[in-house]
């Protein structure tokens, strides 16, 4: 697991209060991890803070799963 993936998963576990084994790349924040629309806004903010990047609203809307977040942030870091 990449460093970015590990950091993303750690944030998701902390913010959504879910078990680590549920935070797989295909997990959808809302459908699988119990987030609501406000939780997803806060998650994106937490990614911005952790990785010192800005995620515009239109990009944030495409981040629906753990894997979406990891690949978005990996591209940003590349």
């Amino acid at each position: 697991m990449s460093d970015i993936a590990a950091r993303v998963k750690k944030i998701v576990i902390e913010h959504l209060g879910v078990e680590a084994d549920k935070v797989i790349e295909s997990a959808n924040f809302i459908d699988d991890l119990g987030a609501d629309s406000l939780d997803t806004v806060e998650l994106v903010m937490a990614f911005e803070e952790e990785f010192s990047v800005e995620i515009p609203d239109d990009a944030a809307e495409t981040i629906r799963t753990v894997g979406d977040a990891i690949s978005f942030l990996e591209k940003k870091a590349a």
Partner: protein
């Protein structure tokens, strides 16, 4: 109008988590005051407060995780957490668990707060200044709004009736109970979960109340001596935190399900001072009129009162003004009355005070025990009224009145009677 009774009670107080532990310690003369912890008070002249004892839930401590998931706690200010805990206790105590659509829509919530999420607003402003608007959490607004206690409680327990809130400074809790009882009396709901919640022990609110010259500053080295209503040495109130919530229920509804009935809400009176934003009117007329209105509504005379739970905050001005208003109300019957200020033990819970003190009034009726006014060593005025100094007193209480007065000149009195069928 329909009759309204109290069928459930819940509380988180500086004396502990729960009605029973708080009441036991209150009657034992214990104080909830201590040095303020977890808040930087080093440069403030008021460095003590009555904070909720946090812990693992044993020995009366408050374990937040028992009442709200940790990930949810992060989103809200503590007044919401305390309100949820007290409401959950009150509903469990009442045995009322509405599951049908009809039962859910006839059960409402009316929980208020005096200053709500002021601590969280302070923290978010710092984030805004230091990091900009994109760092403000989407939970900032819903976690600070005063009516969100009612919102959270309704969501947790499926209560779809009237969803309301009150903000009247230190009268909030009393107004919440009184207004909720009216909603039942008028038929808008059959059951109401009503009360007040407050978490004011933050740097910004302490600084603000200090600036109003409202807080005690002379007893930082002896915290348990600081709240001393009616005593010559009193110099302000001691800030407290917590929540009190009751389940109010239409009498026939309560009887039909065989609920235990603690007391009947027989009177509620309201008045305004129209005098000053923070000082009570010197003639005590606002207090007098609100007590009179509550007794008139109750259909009882002042001499029928056995116990008054006073507003009695331990400020130099307010205590004597209330006392004189009560003397004027009682006349020659003053010698038969017990009146105590439980703020001497738990401090001033602001918007939660009226609800917590209403519960103490109800418990005085239930147990025939009147809680004490601590630290009343040397009364500043002579009175025929028994102010119950130092020690709780055994006495039959059939009718009790609870007073609450707030900044802005807002006054509320509640009258409870032993349920007699």
């Amino acid at each position: 109008m329909r009759r309204v009774v109290v069928t459930g009670m819940g509380m988180v107080s500086p004396l502990g988590c729960g009605v029973d532990v708080t009441w036991r310690r209150l009657l034992a003369g214990e104080s909830g005051a201590g040095p303020t912890i977890n808040v930087d008070v080093s440069d403030l002249p008021a460095r003590i407060s009555c904070q909720i004892p946090r812990g693992d839930g044993t020995d009366g401590t408050f374990n937040a995780d028992e009442w709200m998931e940790p990930k949810e706690q992060r989103k809200v200010d503590d007044f919401i957490l305390y309100g949820i805990a007290a409401a959950t206790q009150a509903l469990a105590d009442s045995g009322w668990k509405p599951e049908s659509y009809e039962d859910q829509t006839s059960t409402g919530v009316l929980i208020g707060s005096g200053i709500g999420g002021i601590g969280g607003i302070y923290e978010a402003s710092q984030t805004l200044i230091e990091k900009g608007p994109r760092r403000i959490s989407p939970f900032f607004i819903p976690g600070r709004l005063i009516n969100l206690v009612s919102g959270y409680v309704s969501i947790q327990h499926g209560l779809k009736g009237p969803n309301h809130s009150v903000v009247t400074a230190c009268s909030t809790g009393a107004h919440a109970l009184g207004d909720a009882a009216r909603l039942i009396a008028l038929g808008d709901a059959d059951v109401m979960v009503a009360g007040g919640a407050e978490s004011p022990i933050s740097r910004i609110s302490l600084a603000g109340f200090v600036a109003c010259r409202a807080l005690s500053t002379s007893f930082n080295d002896e915290p348990t001596k600081a709240s001393r209503p009616y005593d010559k040495a009193r110099d302000g109130f001691v800030m407290g935190e917590g929540a009190g919530v009751v389940v109010l229920e239409e009498l026939e509804h309560a009887k039909a399900r065989g609920a235990k009935i603690y007391a009947e809400v027989i009177g509620y009176g309201l008045s305004g001072d129209a005098y000053h934003i923070t000082s009570p009117s010197e003639d005590g007329d606002g207090a007098y009129r609100c007590m009179s209105a509550a007794l008139k509504r109750a259909g009882v005379s002042p001499s029928d009162l056995d116990y008054i739970n006073a507003h009695g905050t331990s400020t130099p001005l307010g205590d004597e003004i209330e006392l004189k208003a009560v003397e004027r109300l009682l006349g020659n019957a003053a010698g038969e009355l017990c009146m105590s200020s439980t703020k001497s033990s738990i401090g001033h819970l602001l918007g939660a005070a009226g609800a917590v003190e209403a519960i103490f009034s109800i418990l005085a009726i239930r147990d025939g025990m009147v809680p004490p006014t601590l630290n009343l060593d040397d009364p500043s005025v002579e009175t025929a009224i028994d102010l119950v100094p130092h020690k709780a007193k055994q006495r039959e209480v059939n009718i009790a009145l609870s007073n609450s007065f707030g900044f802005g000149g807002t006054n509320a009195s509640l009258v409870f009677r032993r349920y007699q069928g």
